[in-house]
């Protein structure tokens, strides 16, 4: 579409936009379209959906508000951002619950048609905020979107009233596209694919999108439009990927690379279910999935599949990990490969299912009966969920012990550009399989370096053997109650996990290699911590380093040496302090400080910067 731009253009480095409305208003779709279009334009992008736990909460209610935040830039974007530059509020409830996030002086677009007496009451407004000057600190653009949408579609045949009203989100999107100089082309192509069999919906959505675009262009209420140039990103082929999808794809890649078949045993749980939804689609790659009767059957079926020779995994979230504890102990005891993905959410108990938290680390490390060490690693961005899923598969197959992969709601549901990695570029994956008969095979014979045991699977003649949860003789694998044998086996299971240190990379630091303060994080807080330290670095605080851990058990070999190079260490976590306990119990002589947030929300940039400055002063 040719665009004539007469209003002044302002060039911005980055902008944060949030679309909010009723959970049935299509805000997730609107946000996704905006972020995809921006990514294809070449911006760096990070997004985060924020939706209620209720599927269809009562219309217009405060707790039924669904939102989608998009952060785009010509600079590196590492988080979906905190305060927003533009809020698009499709109803009063959306305005009320999100107003506090809008930067003062910045823009709010509202659908005035939705500010009815009834909706104002549902949003617990005593007076109409559009009329009582309560928004005077913001630039409010009032648009009767619902009526304009109806007007636009009055001549389109075959649409009922509901379908017409539902497309008003595209009017909002059209306006925002104009404001930020985005092409509507990608979204129109999207309509053509999505509504292939419903031409009237293609026509309607395209018309409304264009109407919004032209309305914004001609509307004098919007004083200027903005340009955000493409970001300088590594050359390559990209796609926008959600963390959970990246996790699923990492396992697909690992299965292909290792030449093994992938098995997922899983029970639906928010926010991990999308990994199941993704993998179940890929039967064409031979992926086997079992939606089990419960969390325990999810993991135990995976253990069975692993015993039979598949690359097996199970996926879960918070309370599900607790249910899987006993079976994870079995997998550790019989020393089989198994990946457990735990997409952390707000706890304890049912907690905050749709919110993010990092409060399962200690459960992951220690939450089993007896001494049951497993490898624990964590992904830190939506895109690197791919790499850590791949690595989880590699480690479990090469070391013959379960791997617990931690993700969290923030990165699992967030999306970002992913420079597509072909399987050909990925590291080799070995496994401990014995393909043929071997004289005197004993199930607990080990590789002398890694201590991984050799793996014989059913179907291999002459290697018939039994494994089980009872303690086993260190060589023959027969049941053994011998005191010395139990101590030996307990220690060797721990040593095997410890020796993974010899196979993982050293911990790296960013911004400073030594100095006054080391900011330490792990998991999904990478983006927030990275951008806070980066900003301080740009402000002249070159004495702050940043170490973000992905390998949590075992810790990288150089961890102690790295910590020693800084005077103070602040461990930042979305819990009351778990990784700090792990560090403090492993490494003495360091001054560990902690910064924590337990609100179901990510760290905000400002709170981190203030904290770090305060520590330094």
């Amino acid at each position: 579409m040719e665009t004539k731009v007469e209003t002044p253009q302002e060039v911005l480095e980055a902008v944060i936009i949030r679309f909010v409305g009723d959970s049935g208003d299509g805000m997730q779709l609107t946000g996704t379209q905006f972020s995809d279009t921006s990514a294809m334009f070449g911006n760096d992008v990070a997004t985060f959906p924020n939706y209620p736990a209720e599927i269809r909460a009562p219309q217009g209610s405060l707790y039924g508000v669904s939102g989608y935040q998009v952060h785009i830039g010509s600079v590196e974007i590492s988080t979906p951002g905190d305060e927003v530059d533009l809020l698009v509020a499709m109803n009063p409830a959306g305005l009320k619950t999100n107003l506090h996030s809008v930067k003062p002086g910045h823009t709010i677009i509202v659908d005035t048609d939705s500010f009815s007496k009834k909706n104002l009451e549902k949003a617990l407004y005593e007076a109409n905020p559009l009329e009582d000057n309560s928004l005077e600190n913001y630039r409010v653009i009032e648009v009767a979107m619902t009526s304009l949408t109806k007007e636009t579609l009055k001549d389109v045949q075959g649409l009922d009233n509901k379908a017409i009203t539902r497309s008003k989100n595209m009017f909002a999107l059209g306006m925002v596209y104009w404001m930020y100089h985005r092409s509507t082309e990608h979204t129109i192509e999207f309509f053509q694919k999505k509504f292939k069999t419903k031409p009237e919906l293609i026509e309607a959505n395209t018309k409304v999108l264009n109407a919004g675009y032209y309305f914004a262009e001609t509307l004098e209420l919007i004083p200027n439009s903005y340009t955000i140039s493409p970001a300088k990103m590594e050359a390559g082929t990209y796609r926008i990927i959600m963390g959970n999808t990246a996790t699923a794809w990492g396992f697909l890649a690992a299965a292909e690379k290792s030449g093994m078949e992938l098995f997922l045993g899983s029970y639906p749980i928010t926010p991990a279910s999308d990994i199941l939804h993704e993998l179940v689609k890929h039967k064409h790659f031979g992926v086997k999935t079992l939606q089990a009767e419960d969390e325990i059957a999810g993991i135990t079926s995976a253990i069975g599949a692993s015993f039979a020779g598949d690359l097996a995994l199970t996926t879960t979230s918070g309370p599900g990990l607790a249910l899987k504890g006993e079976a994870l102990g079995l997998a550790m005891m019989i020393e089989l490969p198994l990946v457990v993905v735990n997409v952390q959410r707000g706890g304890p108990s049912t907690g905050l299912p749709t919110k993010t938290e990092q409060s399962d680390l200690l459960q992951a490390m220690y939450g089993r009966n007896g001494e049951s060490p497993v490898i624990v690693i964590a992904a830190s961005t939506p895109a690197n969920c791919f790499n850590y899923a791949y690595e989880a598969a590699k480690l479990t197959l090469e070391h013959m012990t379960p791997v617990l992969l931690l993700s969290d709601g923030y990165i699992a549901s967030g999306s970002a550009p992913w420079k597509i990695q072909s399987v050909d570029e990925m590291p080799e994956i070995k496994n401990m399989r014995l393909k043929k008969f071997k004289e005197n095979y004993h199930p607990y014979e080990r590789d002398k370096d890694s201590l991984a045991r050799f793996w014989a699977v059913p179907g291999t003649p002459g290697l018939e053997h039994r494994v089980g949860g009872l303690e086993k003789d260190k060589v023959t694998g027969n049941v053994s109650y011998m005191p010395e044998n139990h101590e030996y086996m307990t220690r060797i299971r721990a040593e095997k996990v410890k020796r993974v240190q010899n196979y993982i990379p050293d911990q790296e630091t960013e911004f400073a290699d030594s100095g006054d303060l080391l900011v330490v994080g792990w998991g999904g807080t990478y983006g927030s911590l990275h951008s806070a330290v980066k900003h301080l670095n740009e402000e002249g605080f070159t004495n702050i380093g940043f170490a973000h851990f992905h390998h949590l058990n075992p810790l990288p070999k150089n961890t102690d040496a790295l910590l020693k190079r800084f005077k103070k260490i602040v461990v930042c976590e979305l819990n009351t302090g778990q990784f700090i306990k792990v560090l403090a119990s492993n490494f003495s002589g360091h001054e560990f400080l902690q910064f924590n947030k337990i609100q179901g929300l990510p760290f905000a940039n400002n709170e981190l910067k203030e904290k770090f400055k305060q520590i330094l002063s």
């Binding site: 064409h284 031979g286 018939e464």
Partner: protein, 336 residues
Amino acid sequence: MEAAVKEYTYKDFASDQEVRWCPGCDDYVILRSVQKALPEIGVNKENIVFISGIGCSSRFPYYMETYGMHGIHGRATAIASGVKLANPTLSVWVITGDGDSLAIGGNHFIHVLRRNLDLNIILFNNEIYGLTKGQFSPTSLVGQKTKSSPYGNTQPPFSAGELALGAQARFFARIGGNTPKEMTEIFIASEKYKGTALVEVLQNCPIFNDGCFTKYTDKAVREDRQLFVEHGKPMIFGKERDKGLILNGLKLEVVTIGENGVEESDILIHNAKEQDPTLHQMLVRMEYPMVTGIIRGFEDVTFEEREEALTAQVKANSAFRKTNDLFFSGDIYEIT
């Protein structure tokens, strides 16, 4: 992968581990019957897997010279499901008890039957917890005095067969723990049957619940108290082969051939392959006679057959062969 089937005797299936059940336990009978059945099923031993849960019976895999896993309490059916889905060519056997499968593993038990994977489940029912030394189980009788019910059990029992049929079991057999010949035949039939085959063994625990099935299984009364059903044959029992079952209204009734004008041709013919489980349910519920043999053996599509067919269909309709086909499909874009 199928090599020519090897010739075996029961000894080929005995591992080098010393069997450690109590003297006189029916578990020995079951072990030997399984070892005698396996040479008859036409499967090489490297393709046989035994999976158990926890309990006395669950030590079973250690005594078998096949692949095996001693799992965790109640979960053997779920572990076995994973084994079978990963490699449908394997012959997979689940070893479980009344506590393991009907209490802690009750959920997996009903779901595995509903799905109908091609598994063999041997349920050692002794109406007691043995390994934990004598508490009542979900099949213990009301009033039964045990360590955890010193004044008598107040929890009404499950009937394994009724529960199984309610969960859509397509194959259910019951056999006394002291009839190894019939037991071996049932195990062979259960392996040949495609689908989840559940065999309940009425297993005497000589230590904690001795004699719990004697009134049905004792040699002296067996023929009069048990009806051993066979598909296609009239349901006749008794030392004199003169008792049989007829349908009287909505109930099964025991009649004597030659009395009240009843002739042998009036006796019901057993149809194990009938899809409608109504009559099978009635047989399962009978206490006199206690019905043994293959009560139900209805042939149905297995879960893995459904999965395999669906996978083949998806593969045929998909352009994706390698992950790169997926990764580089759809909305991708170039940064230069």
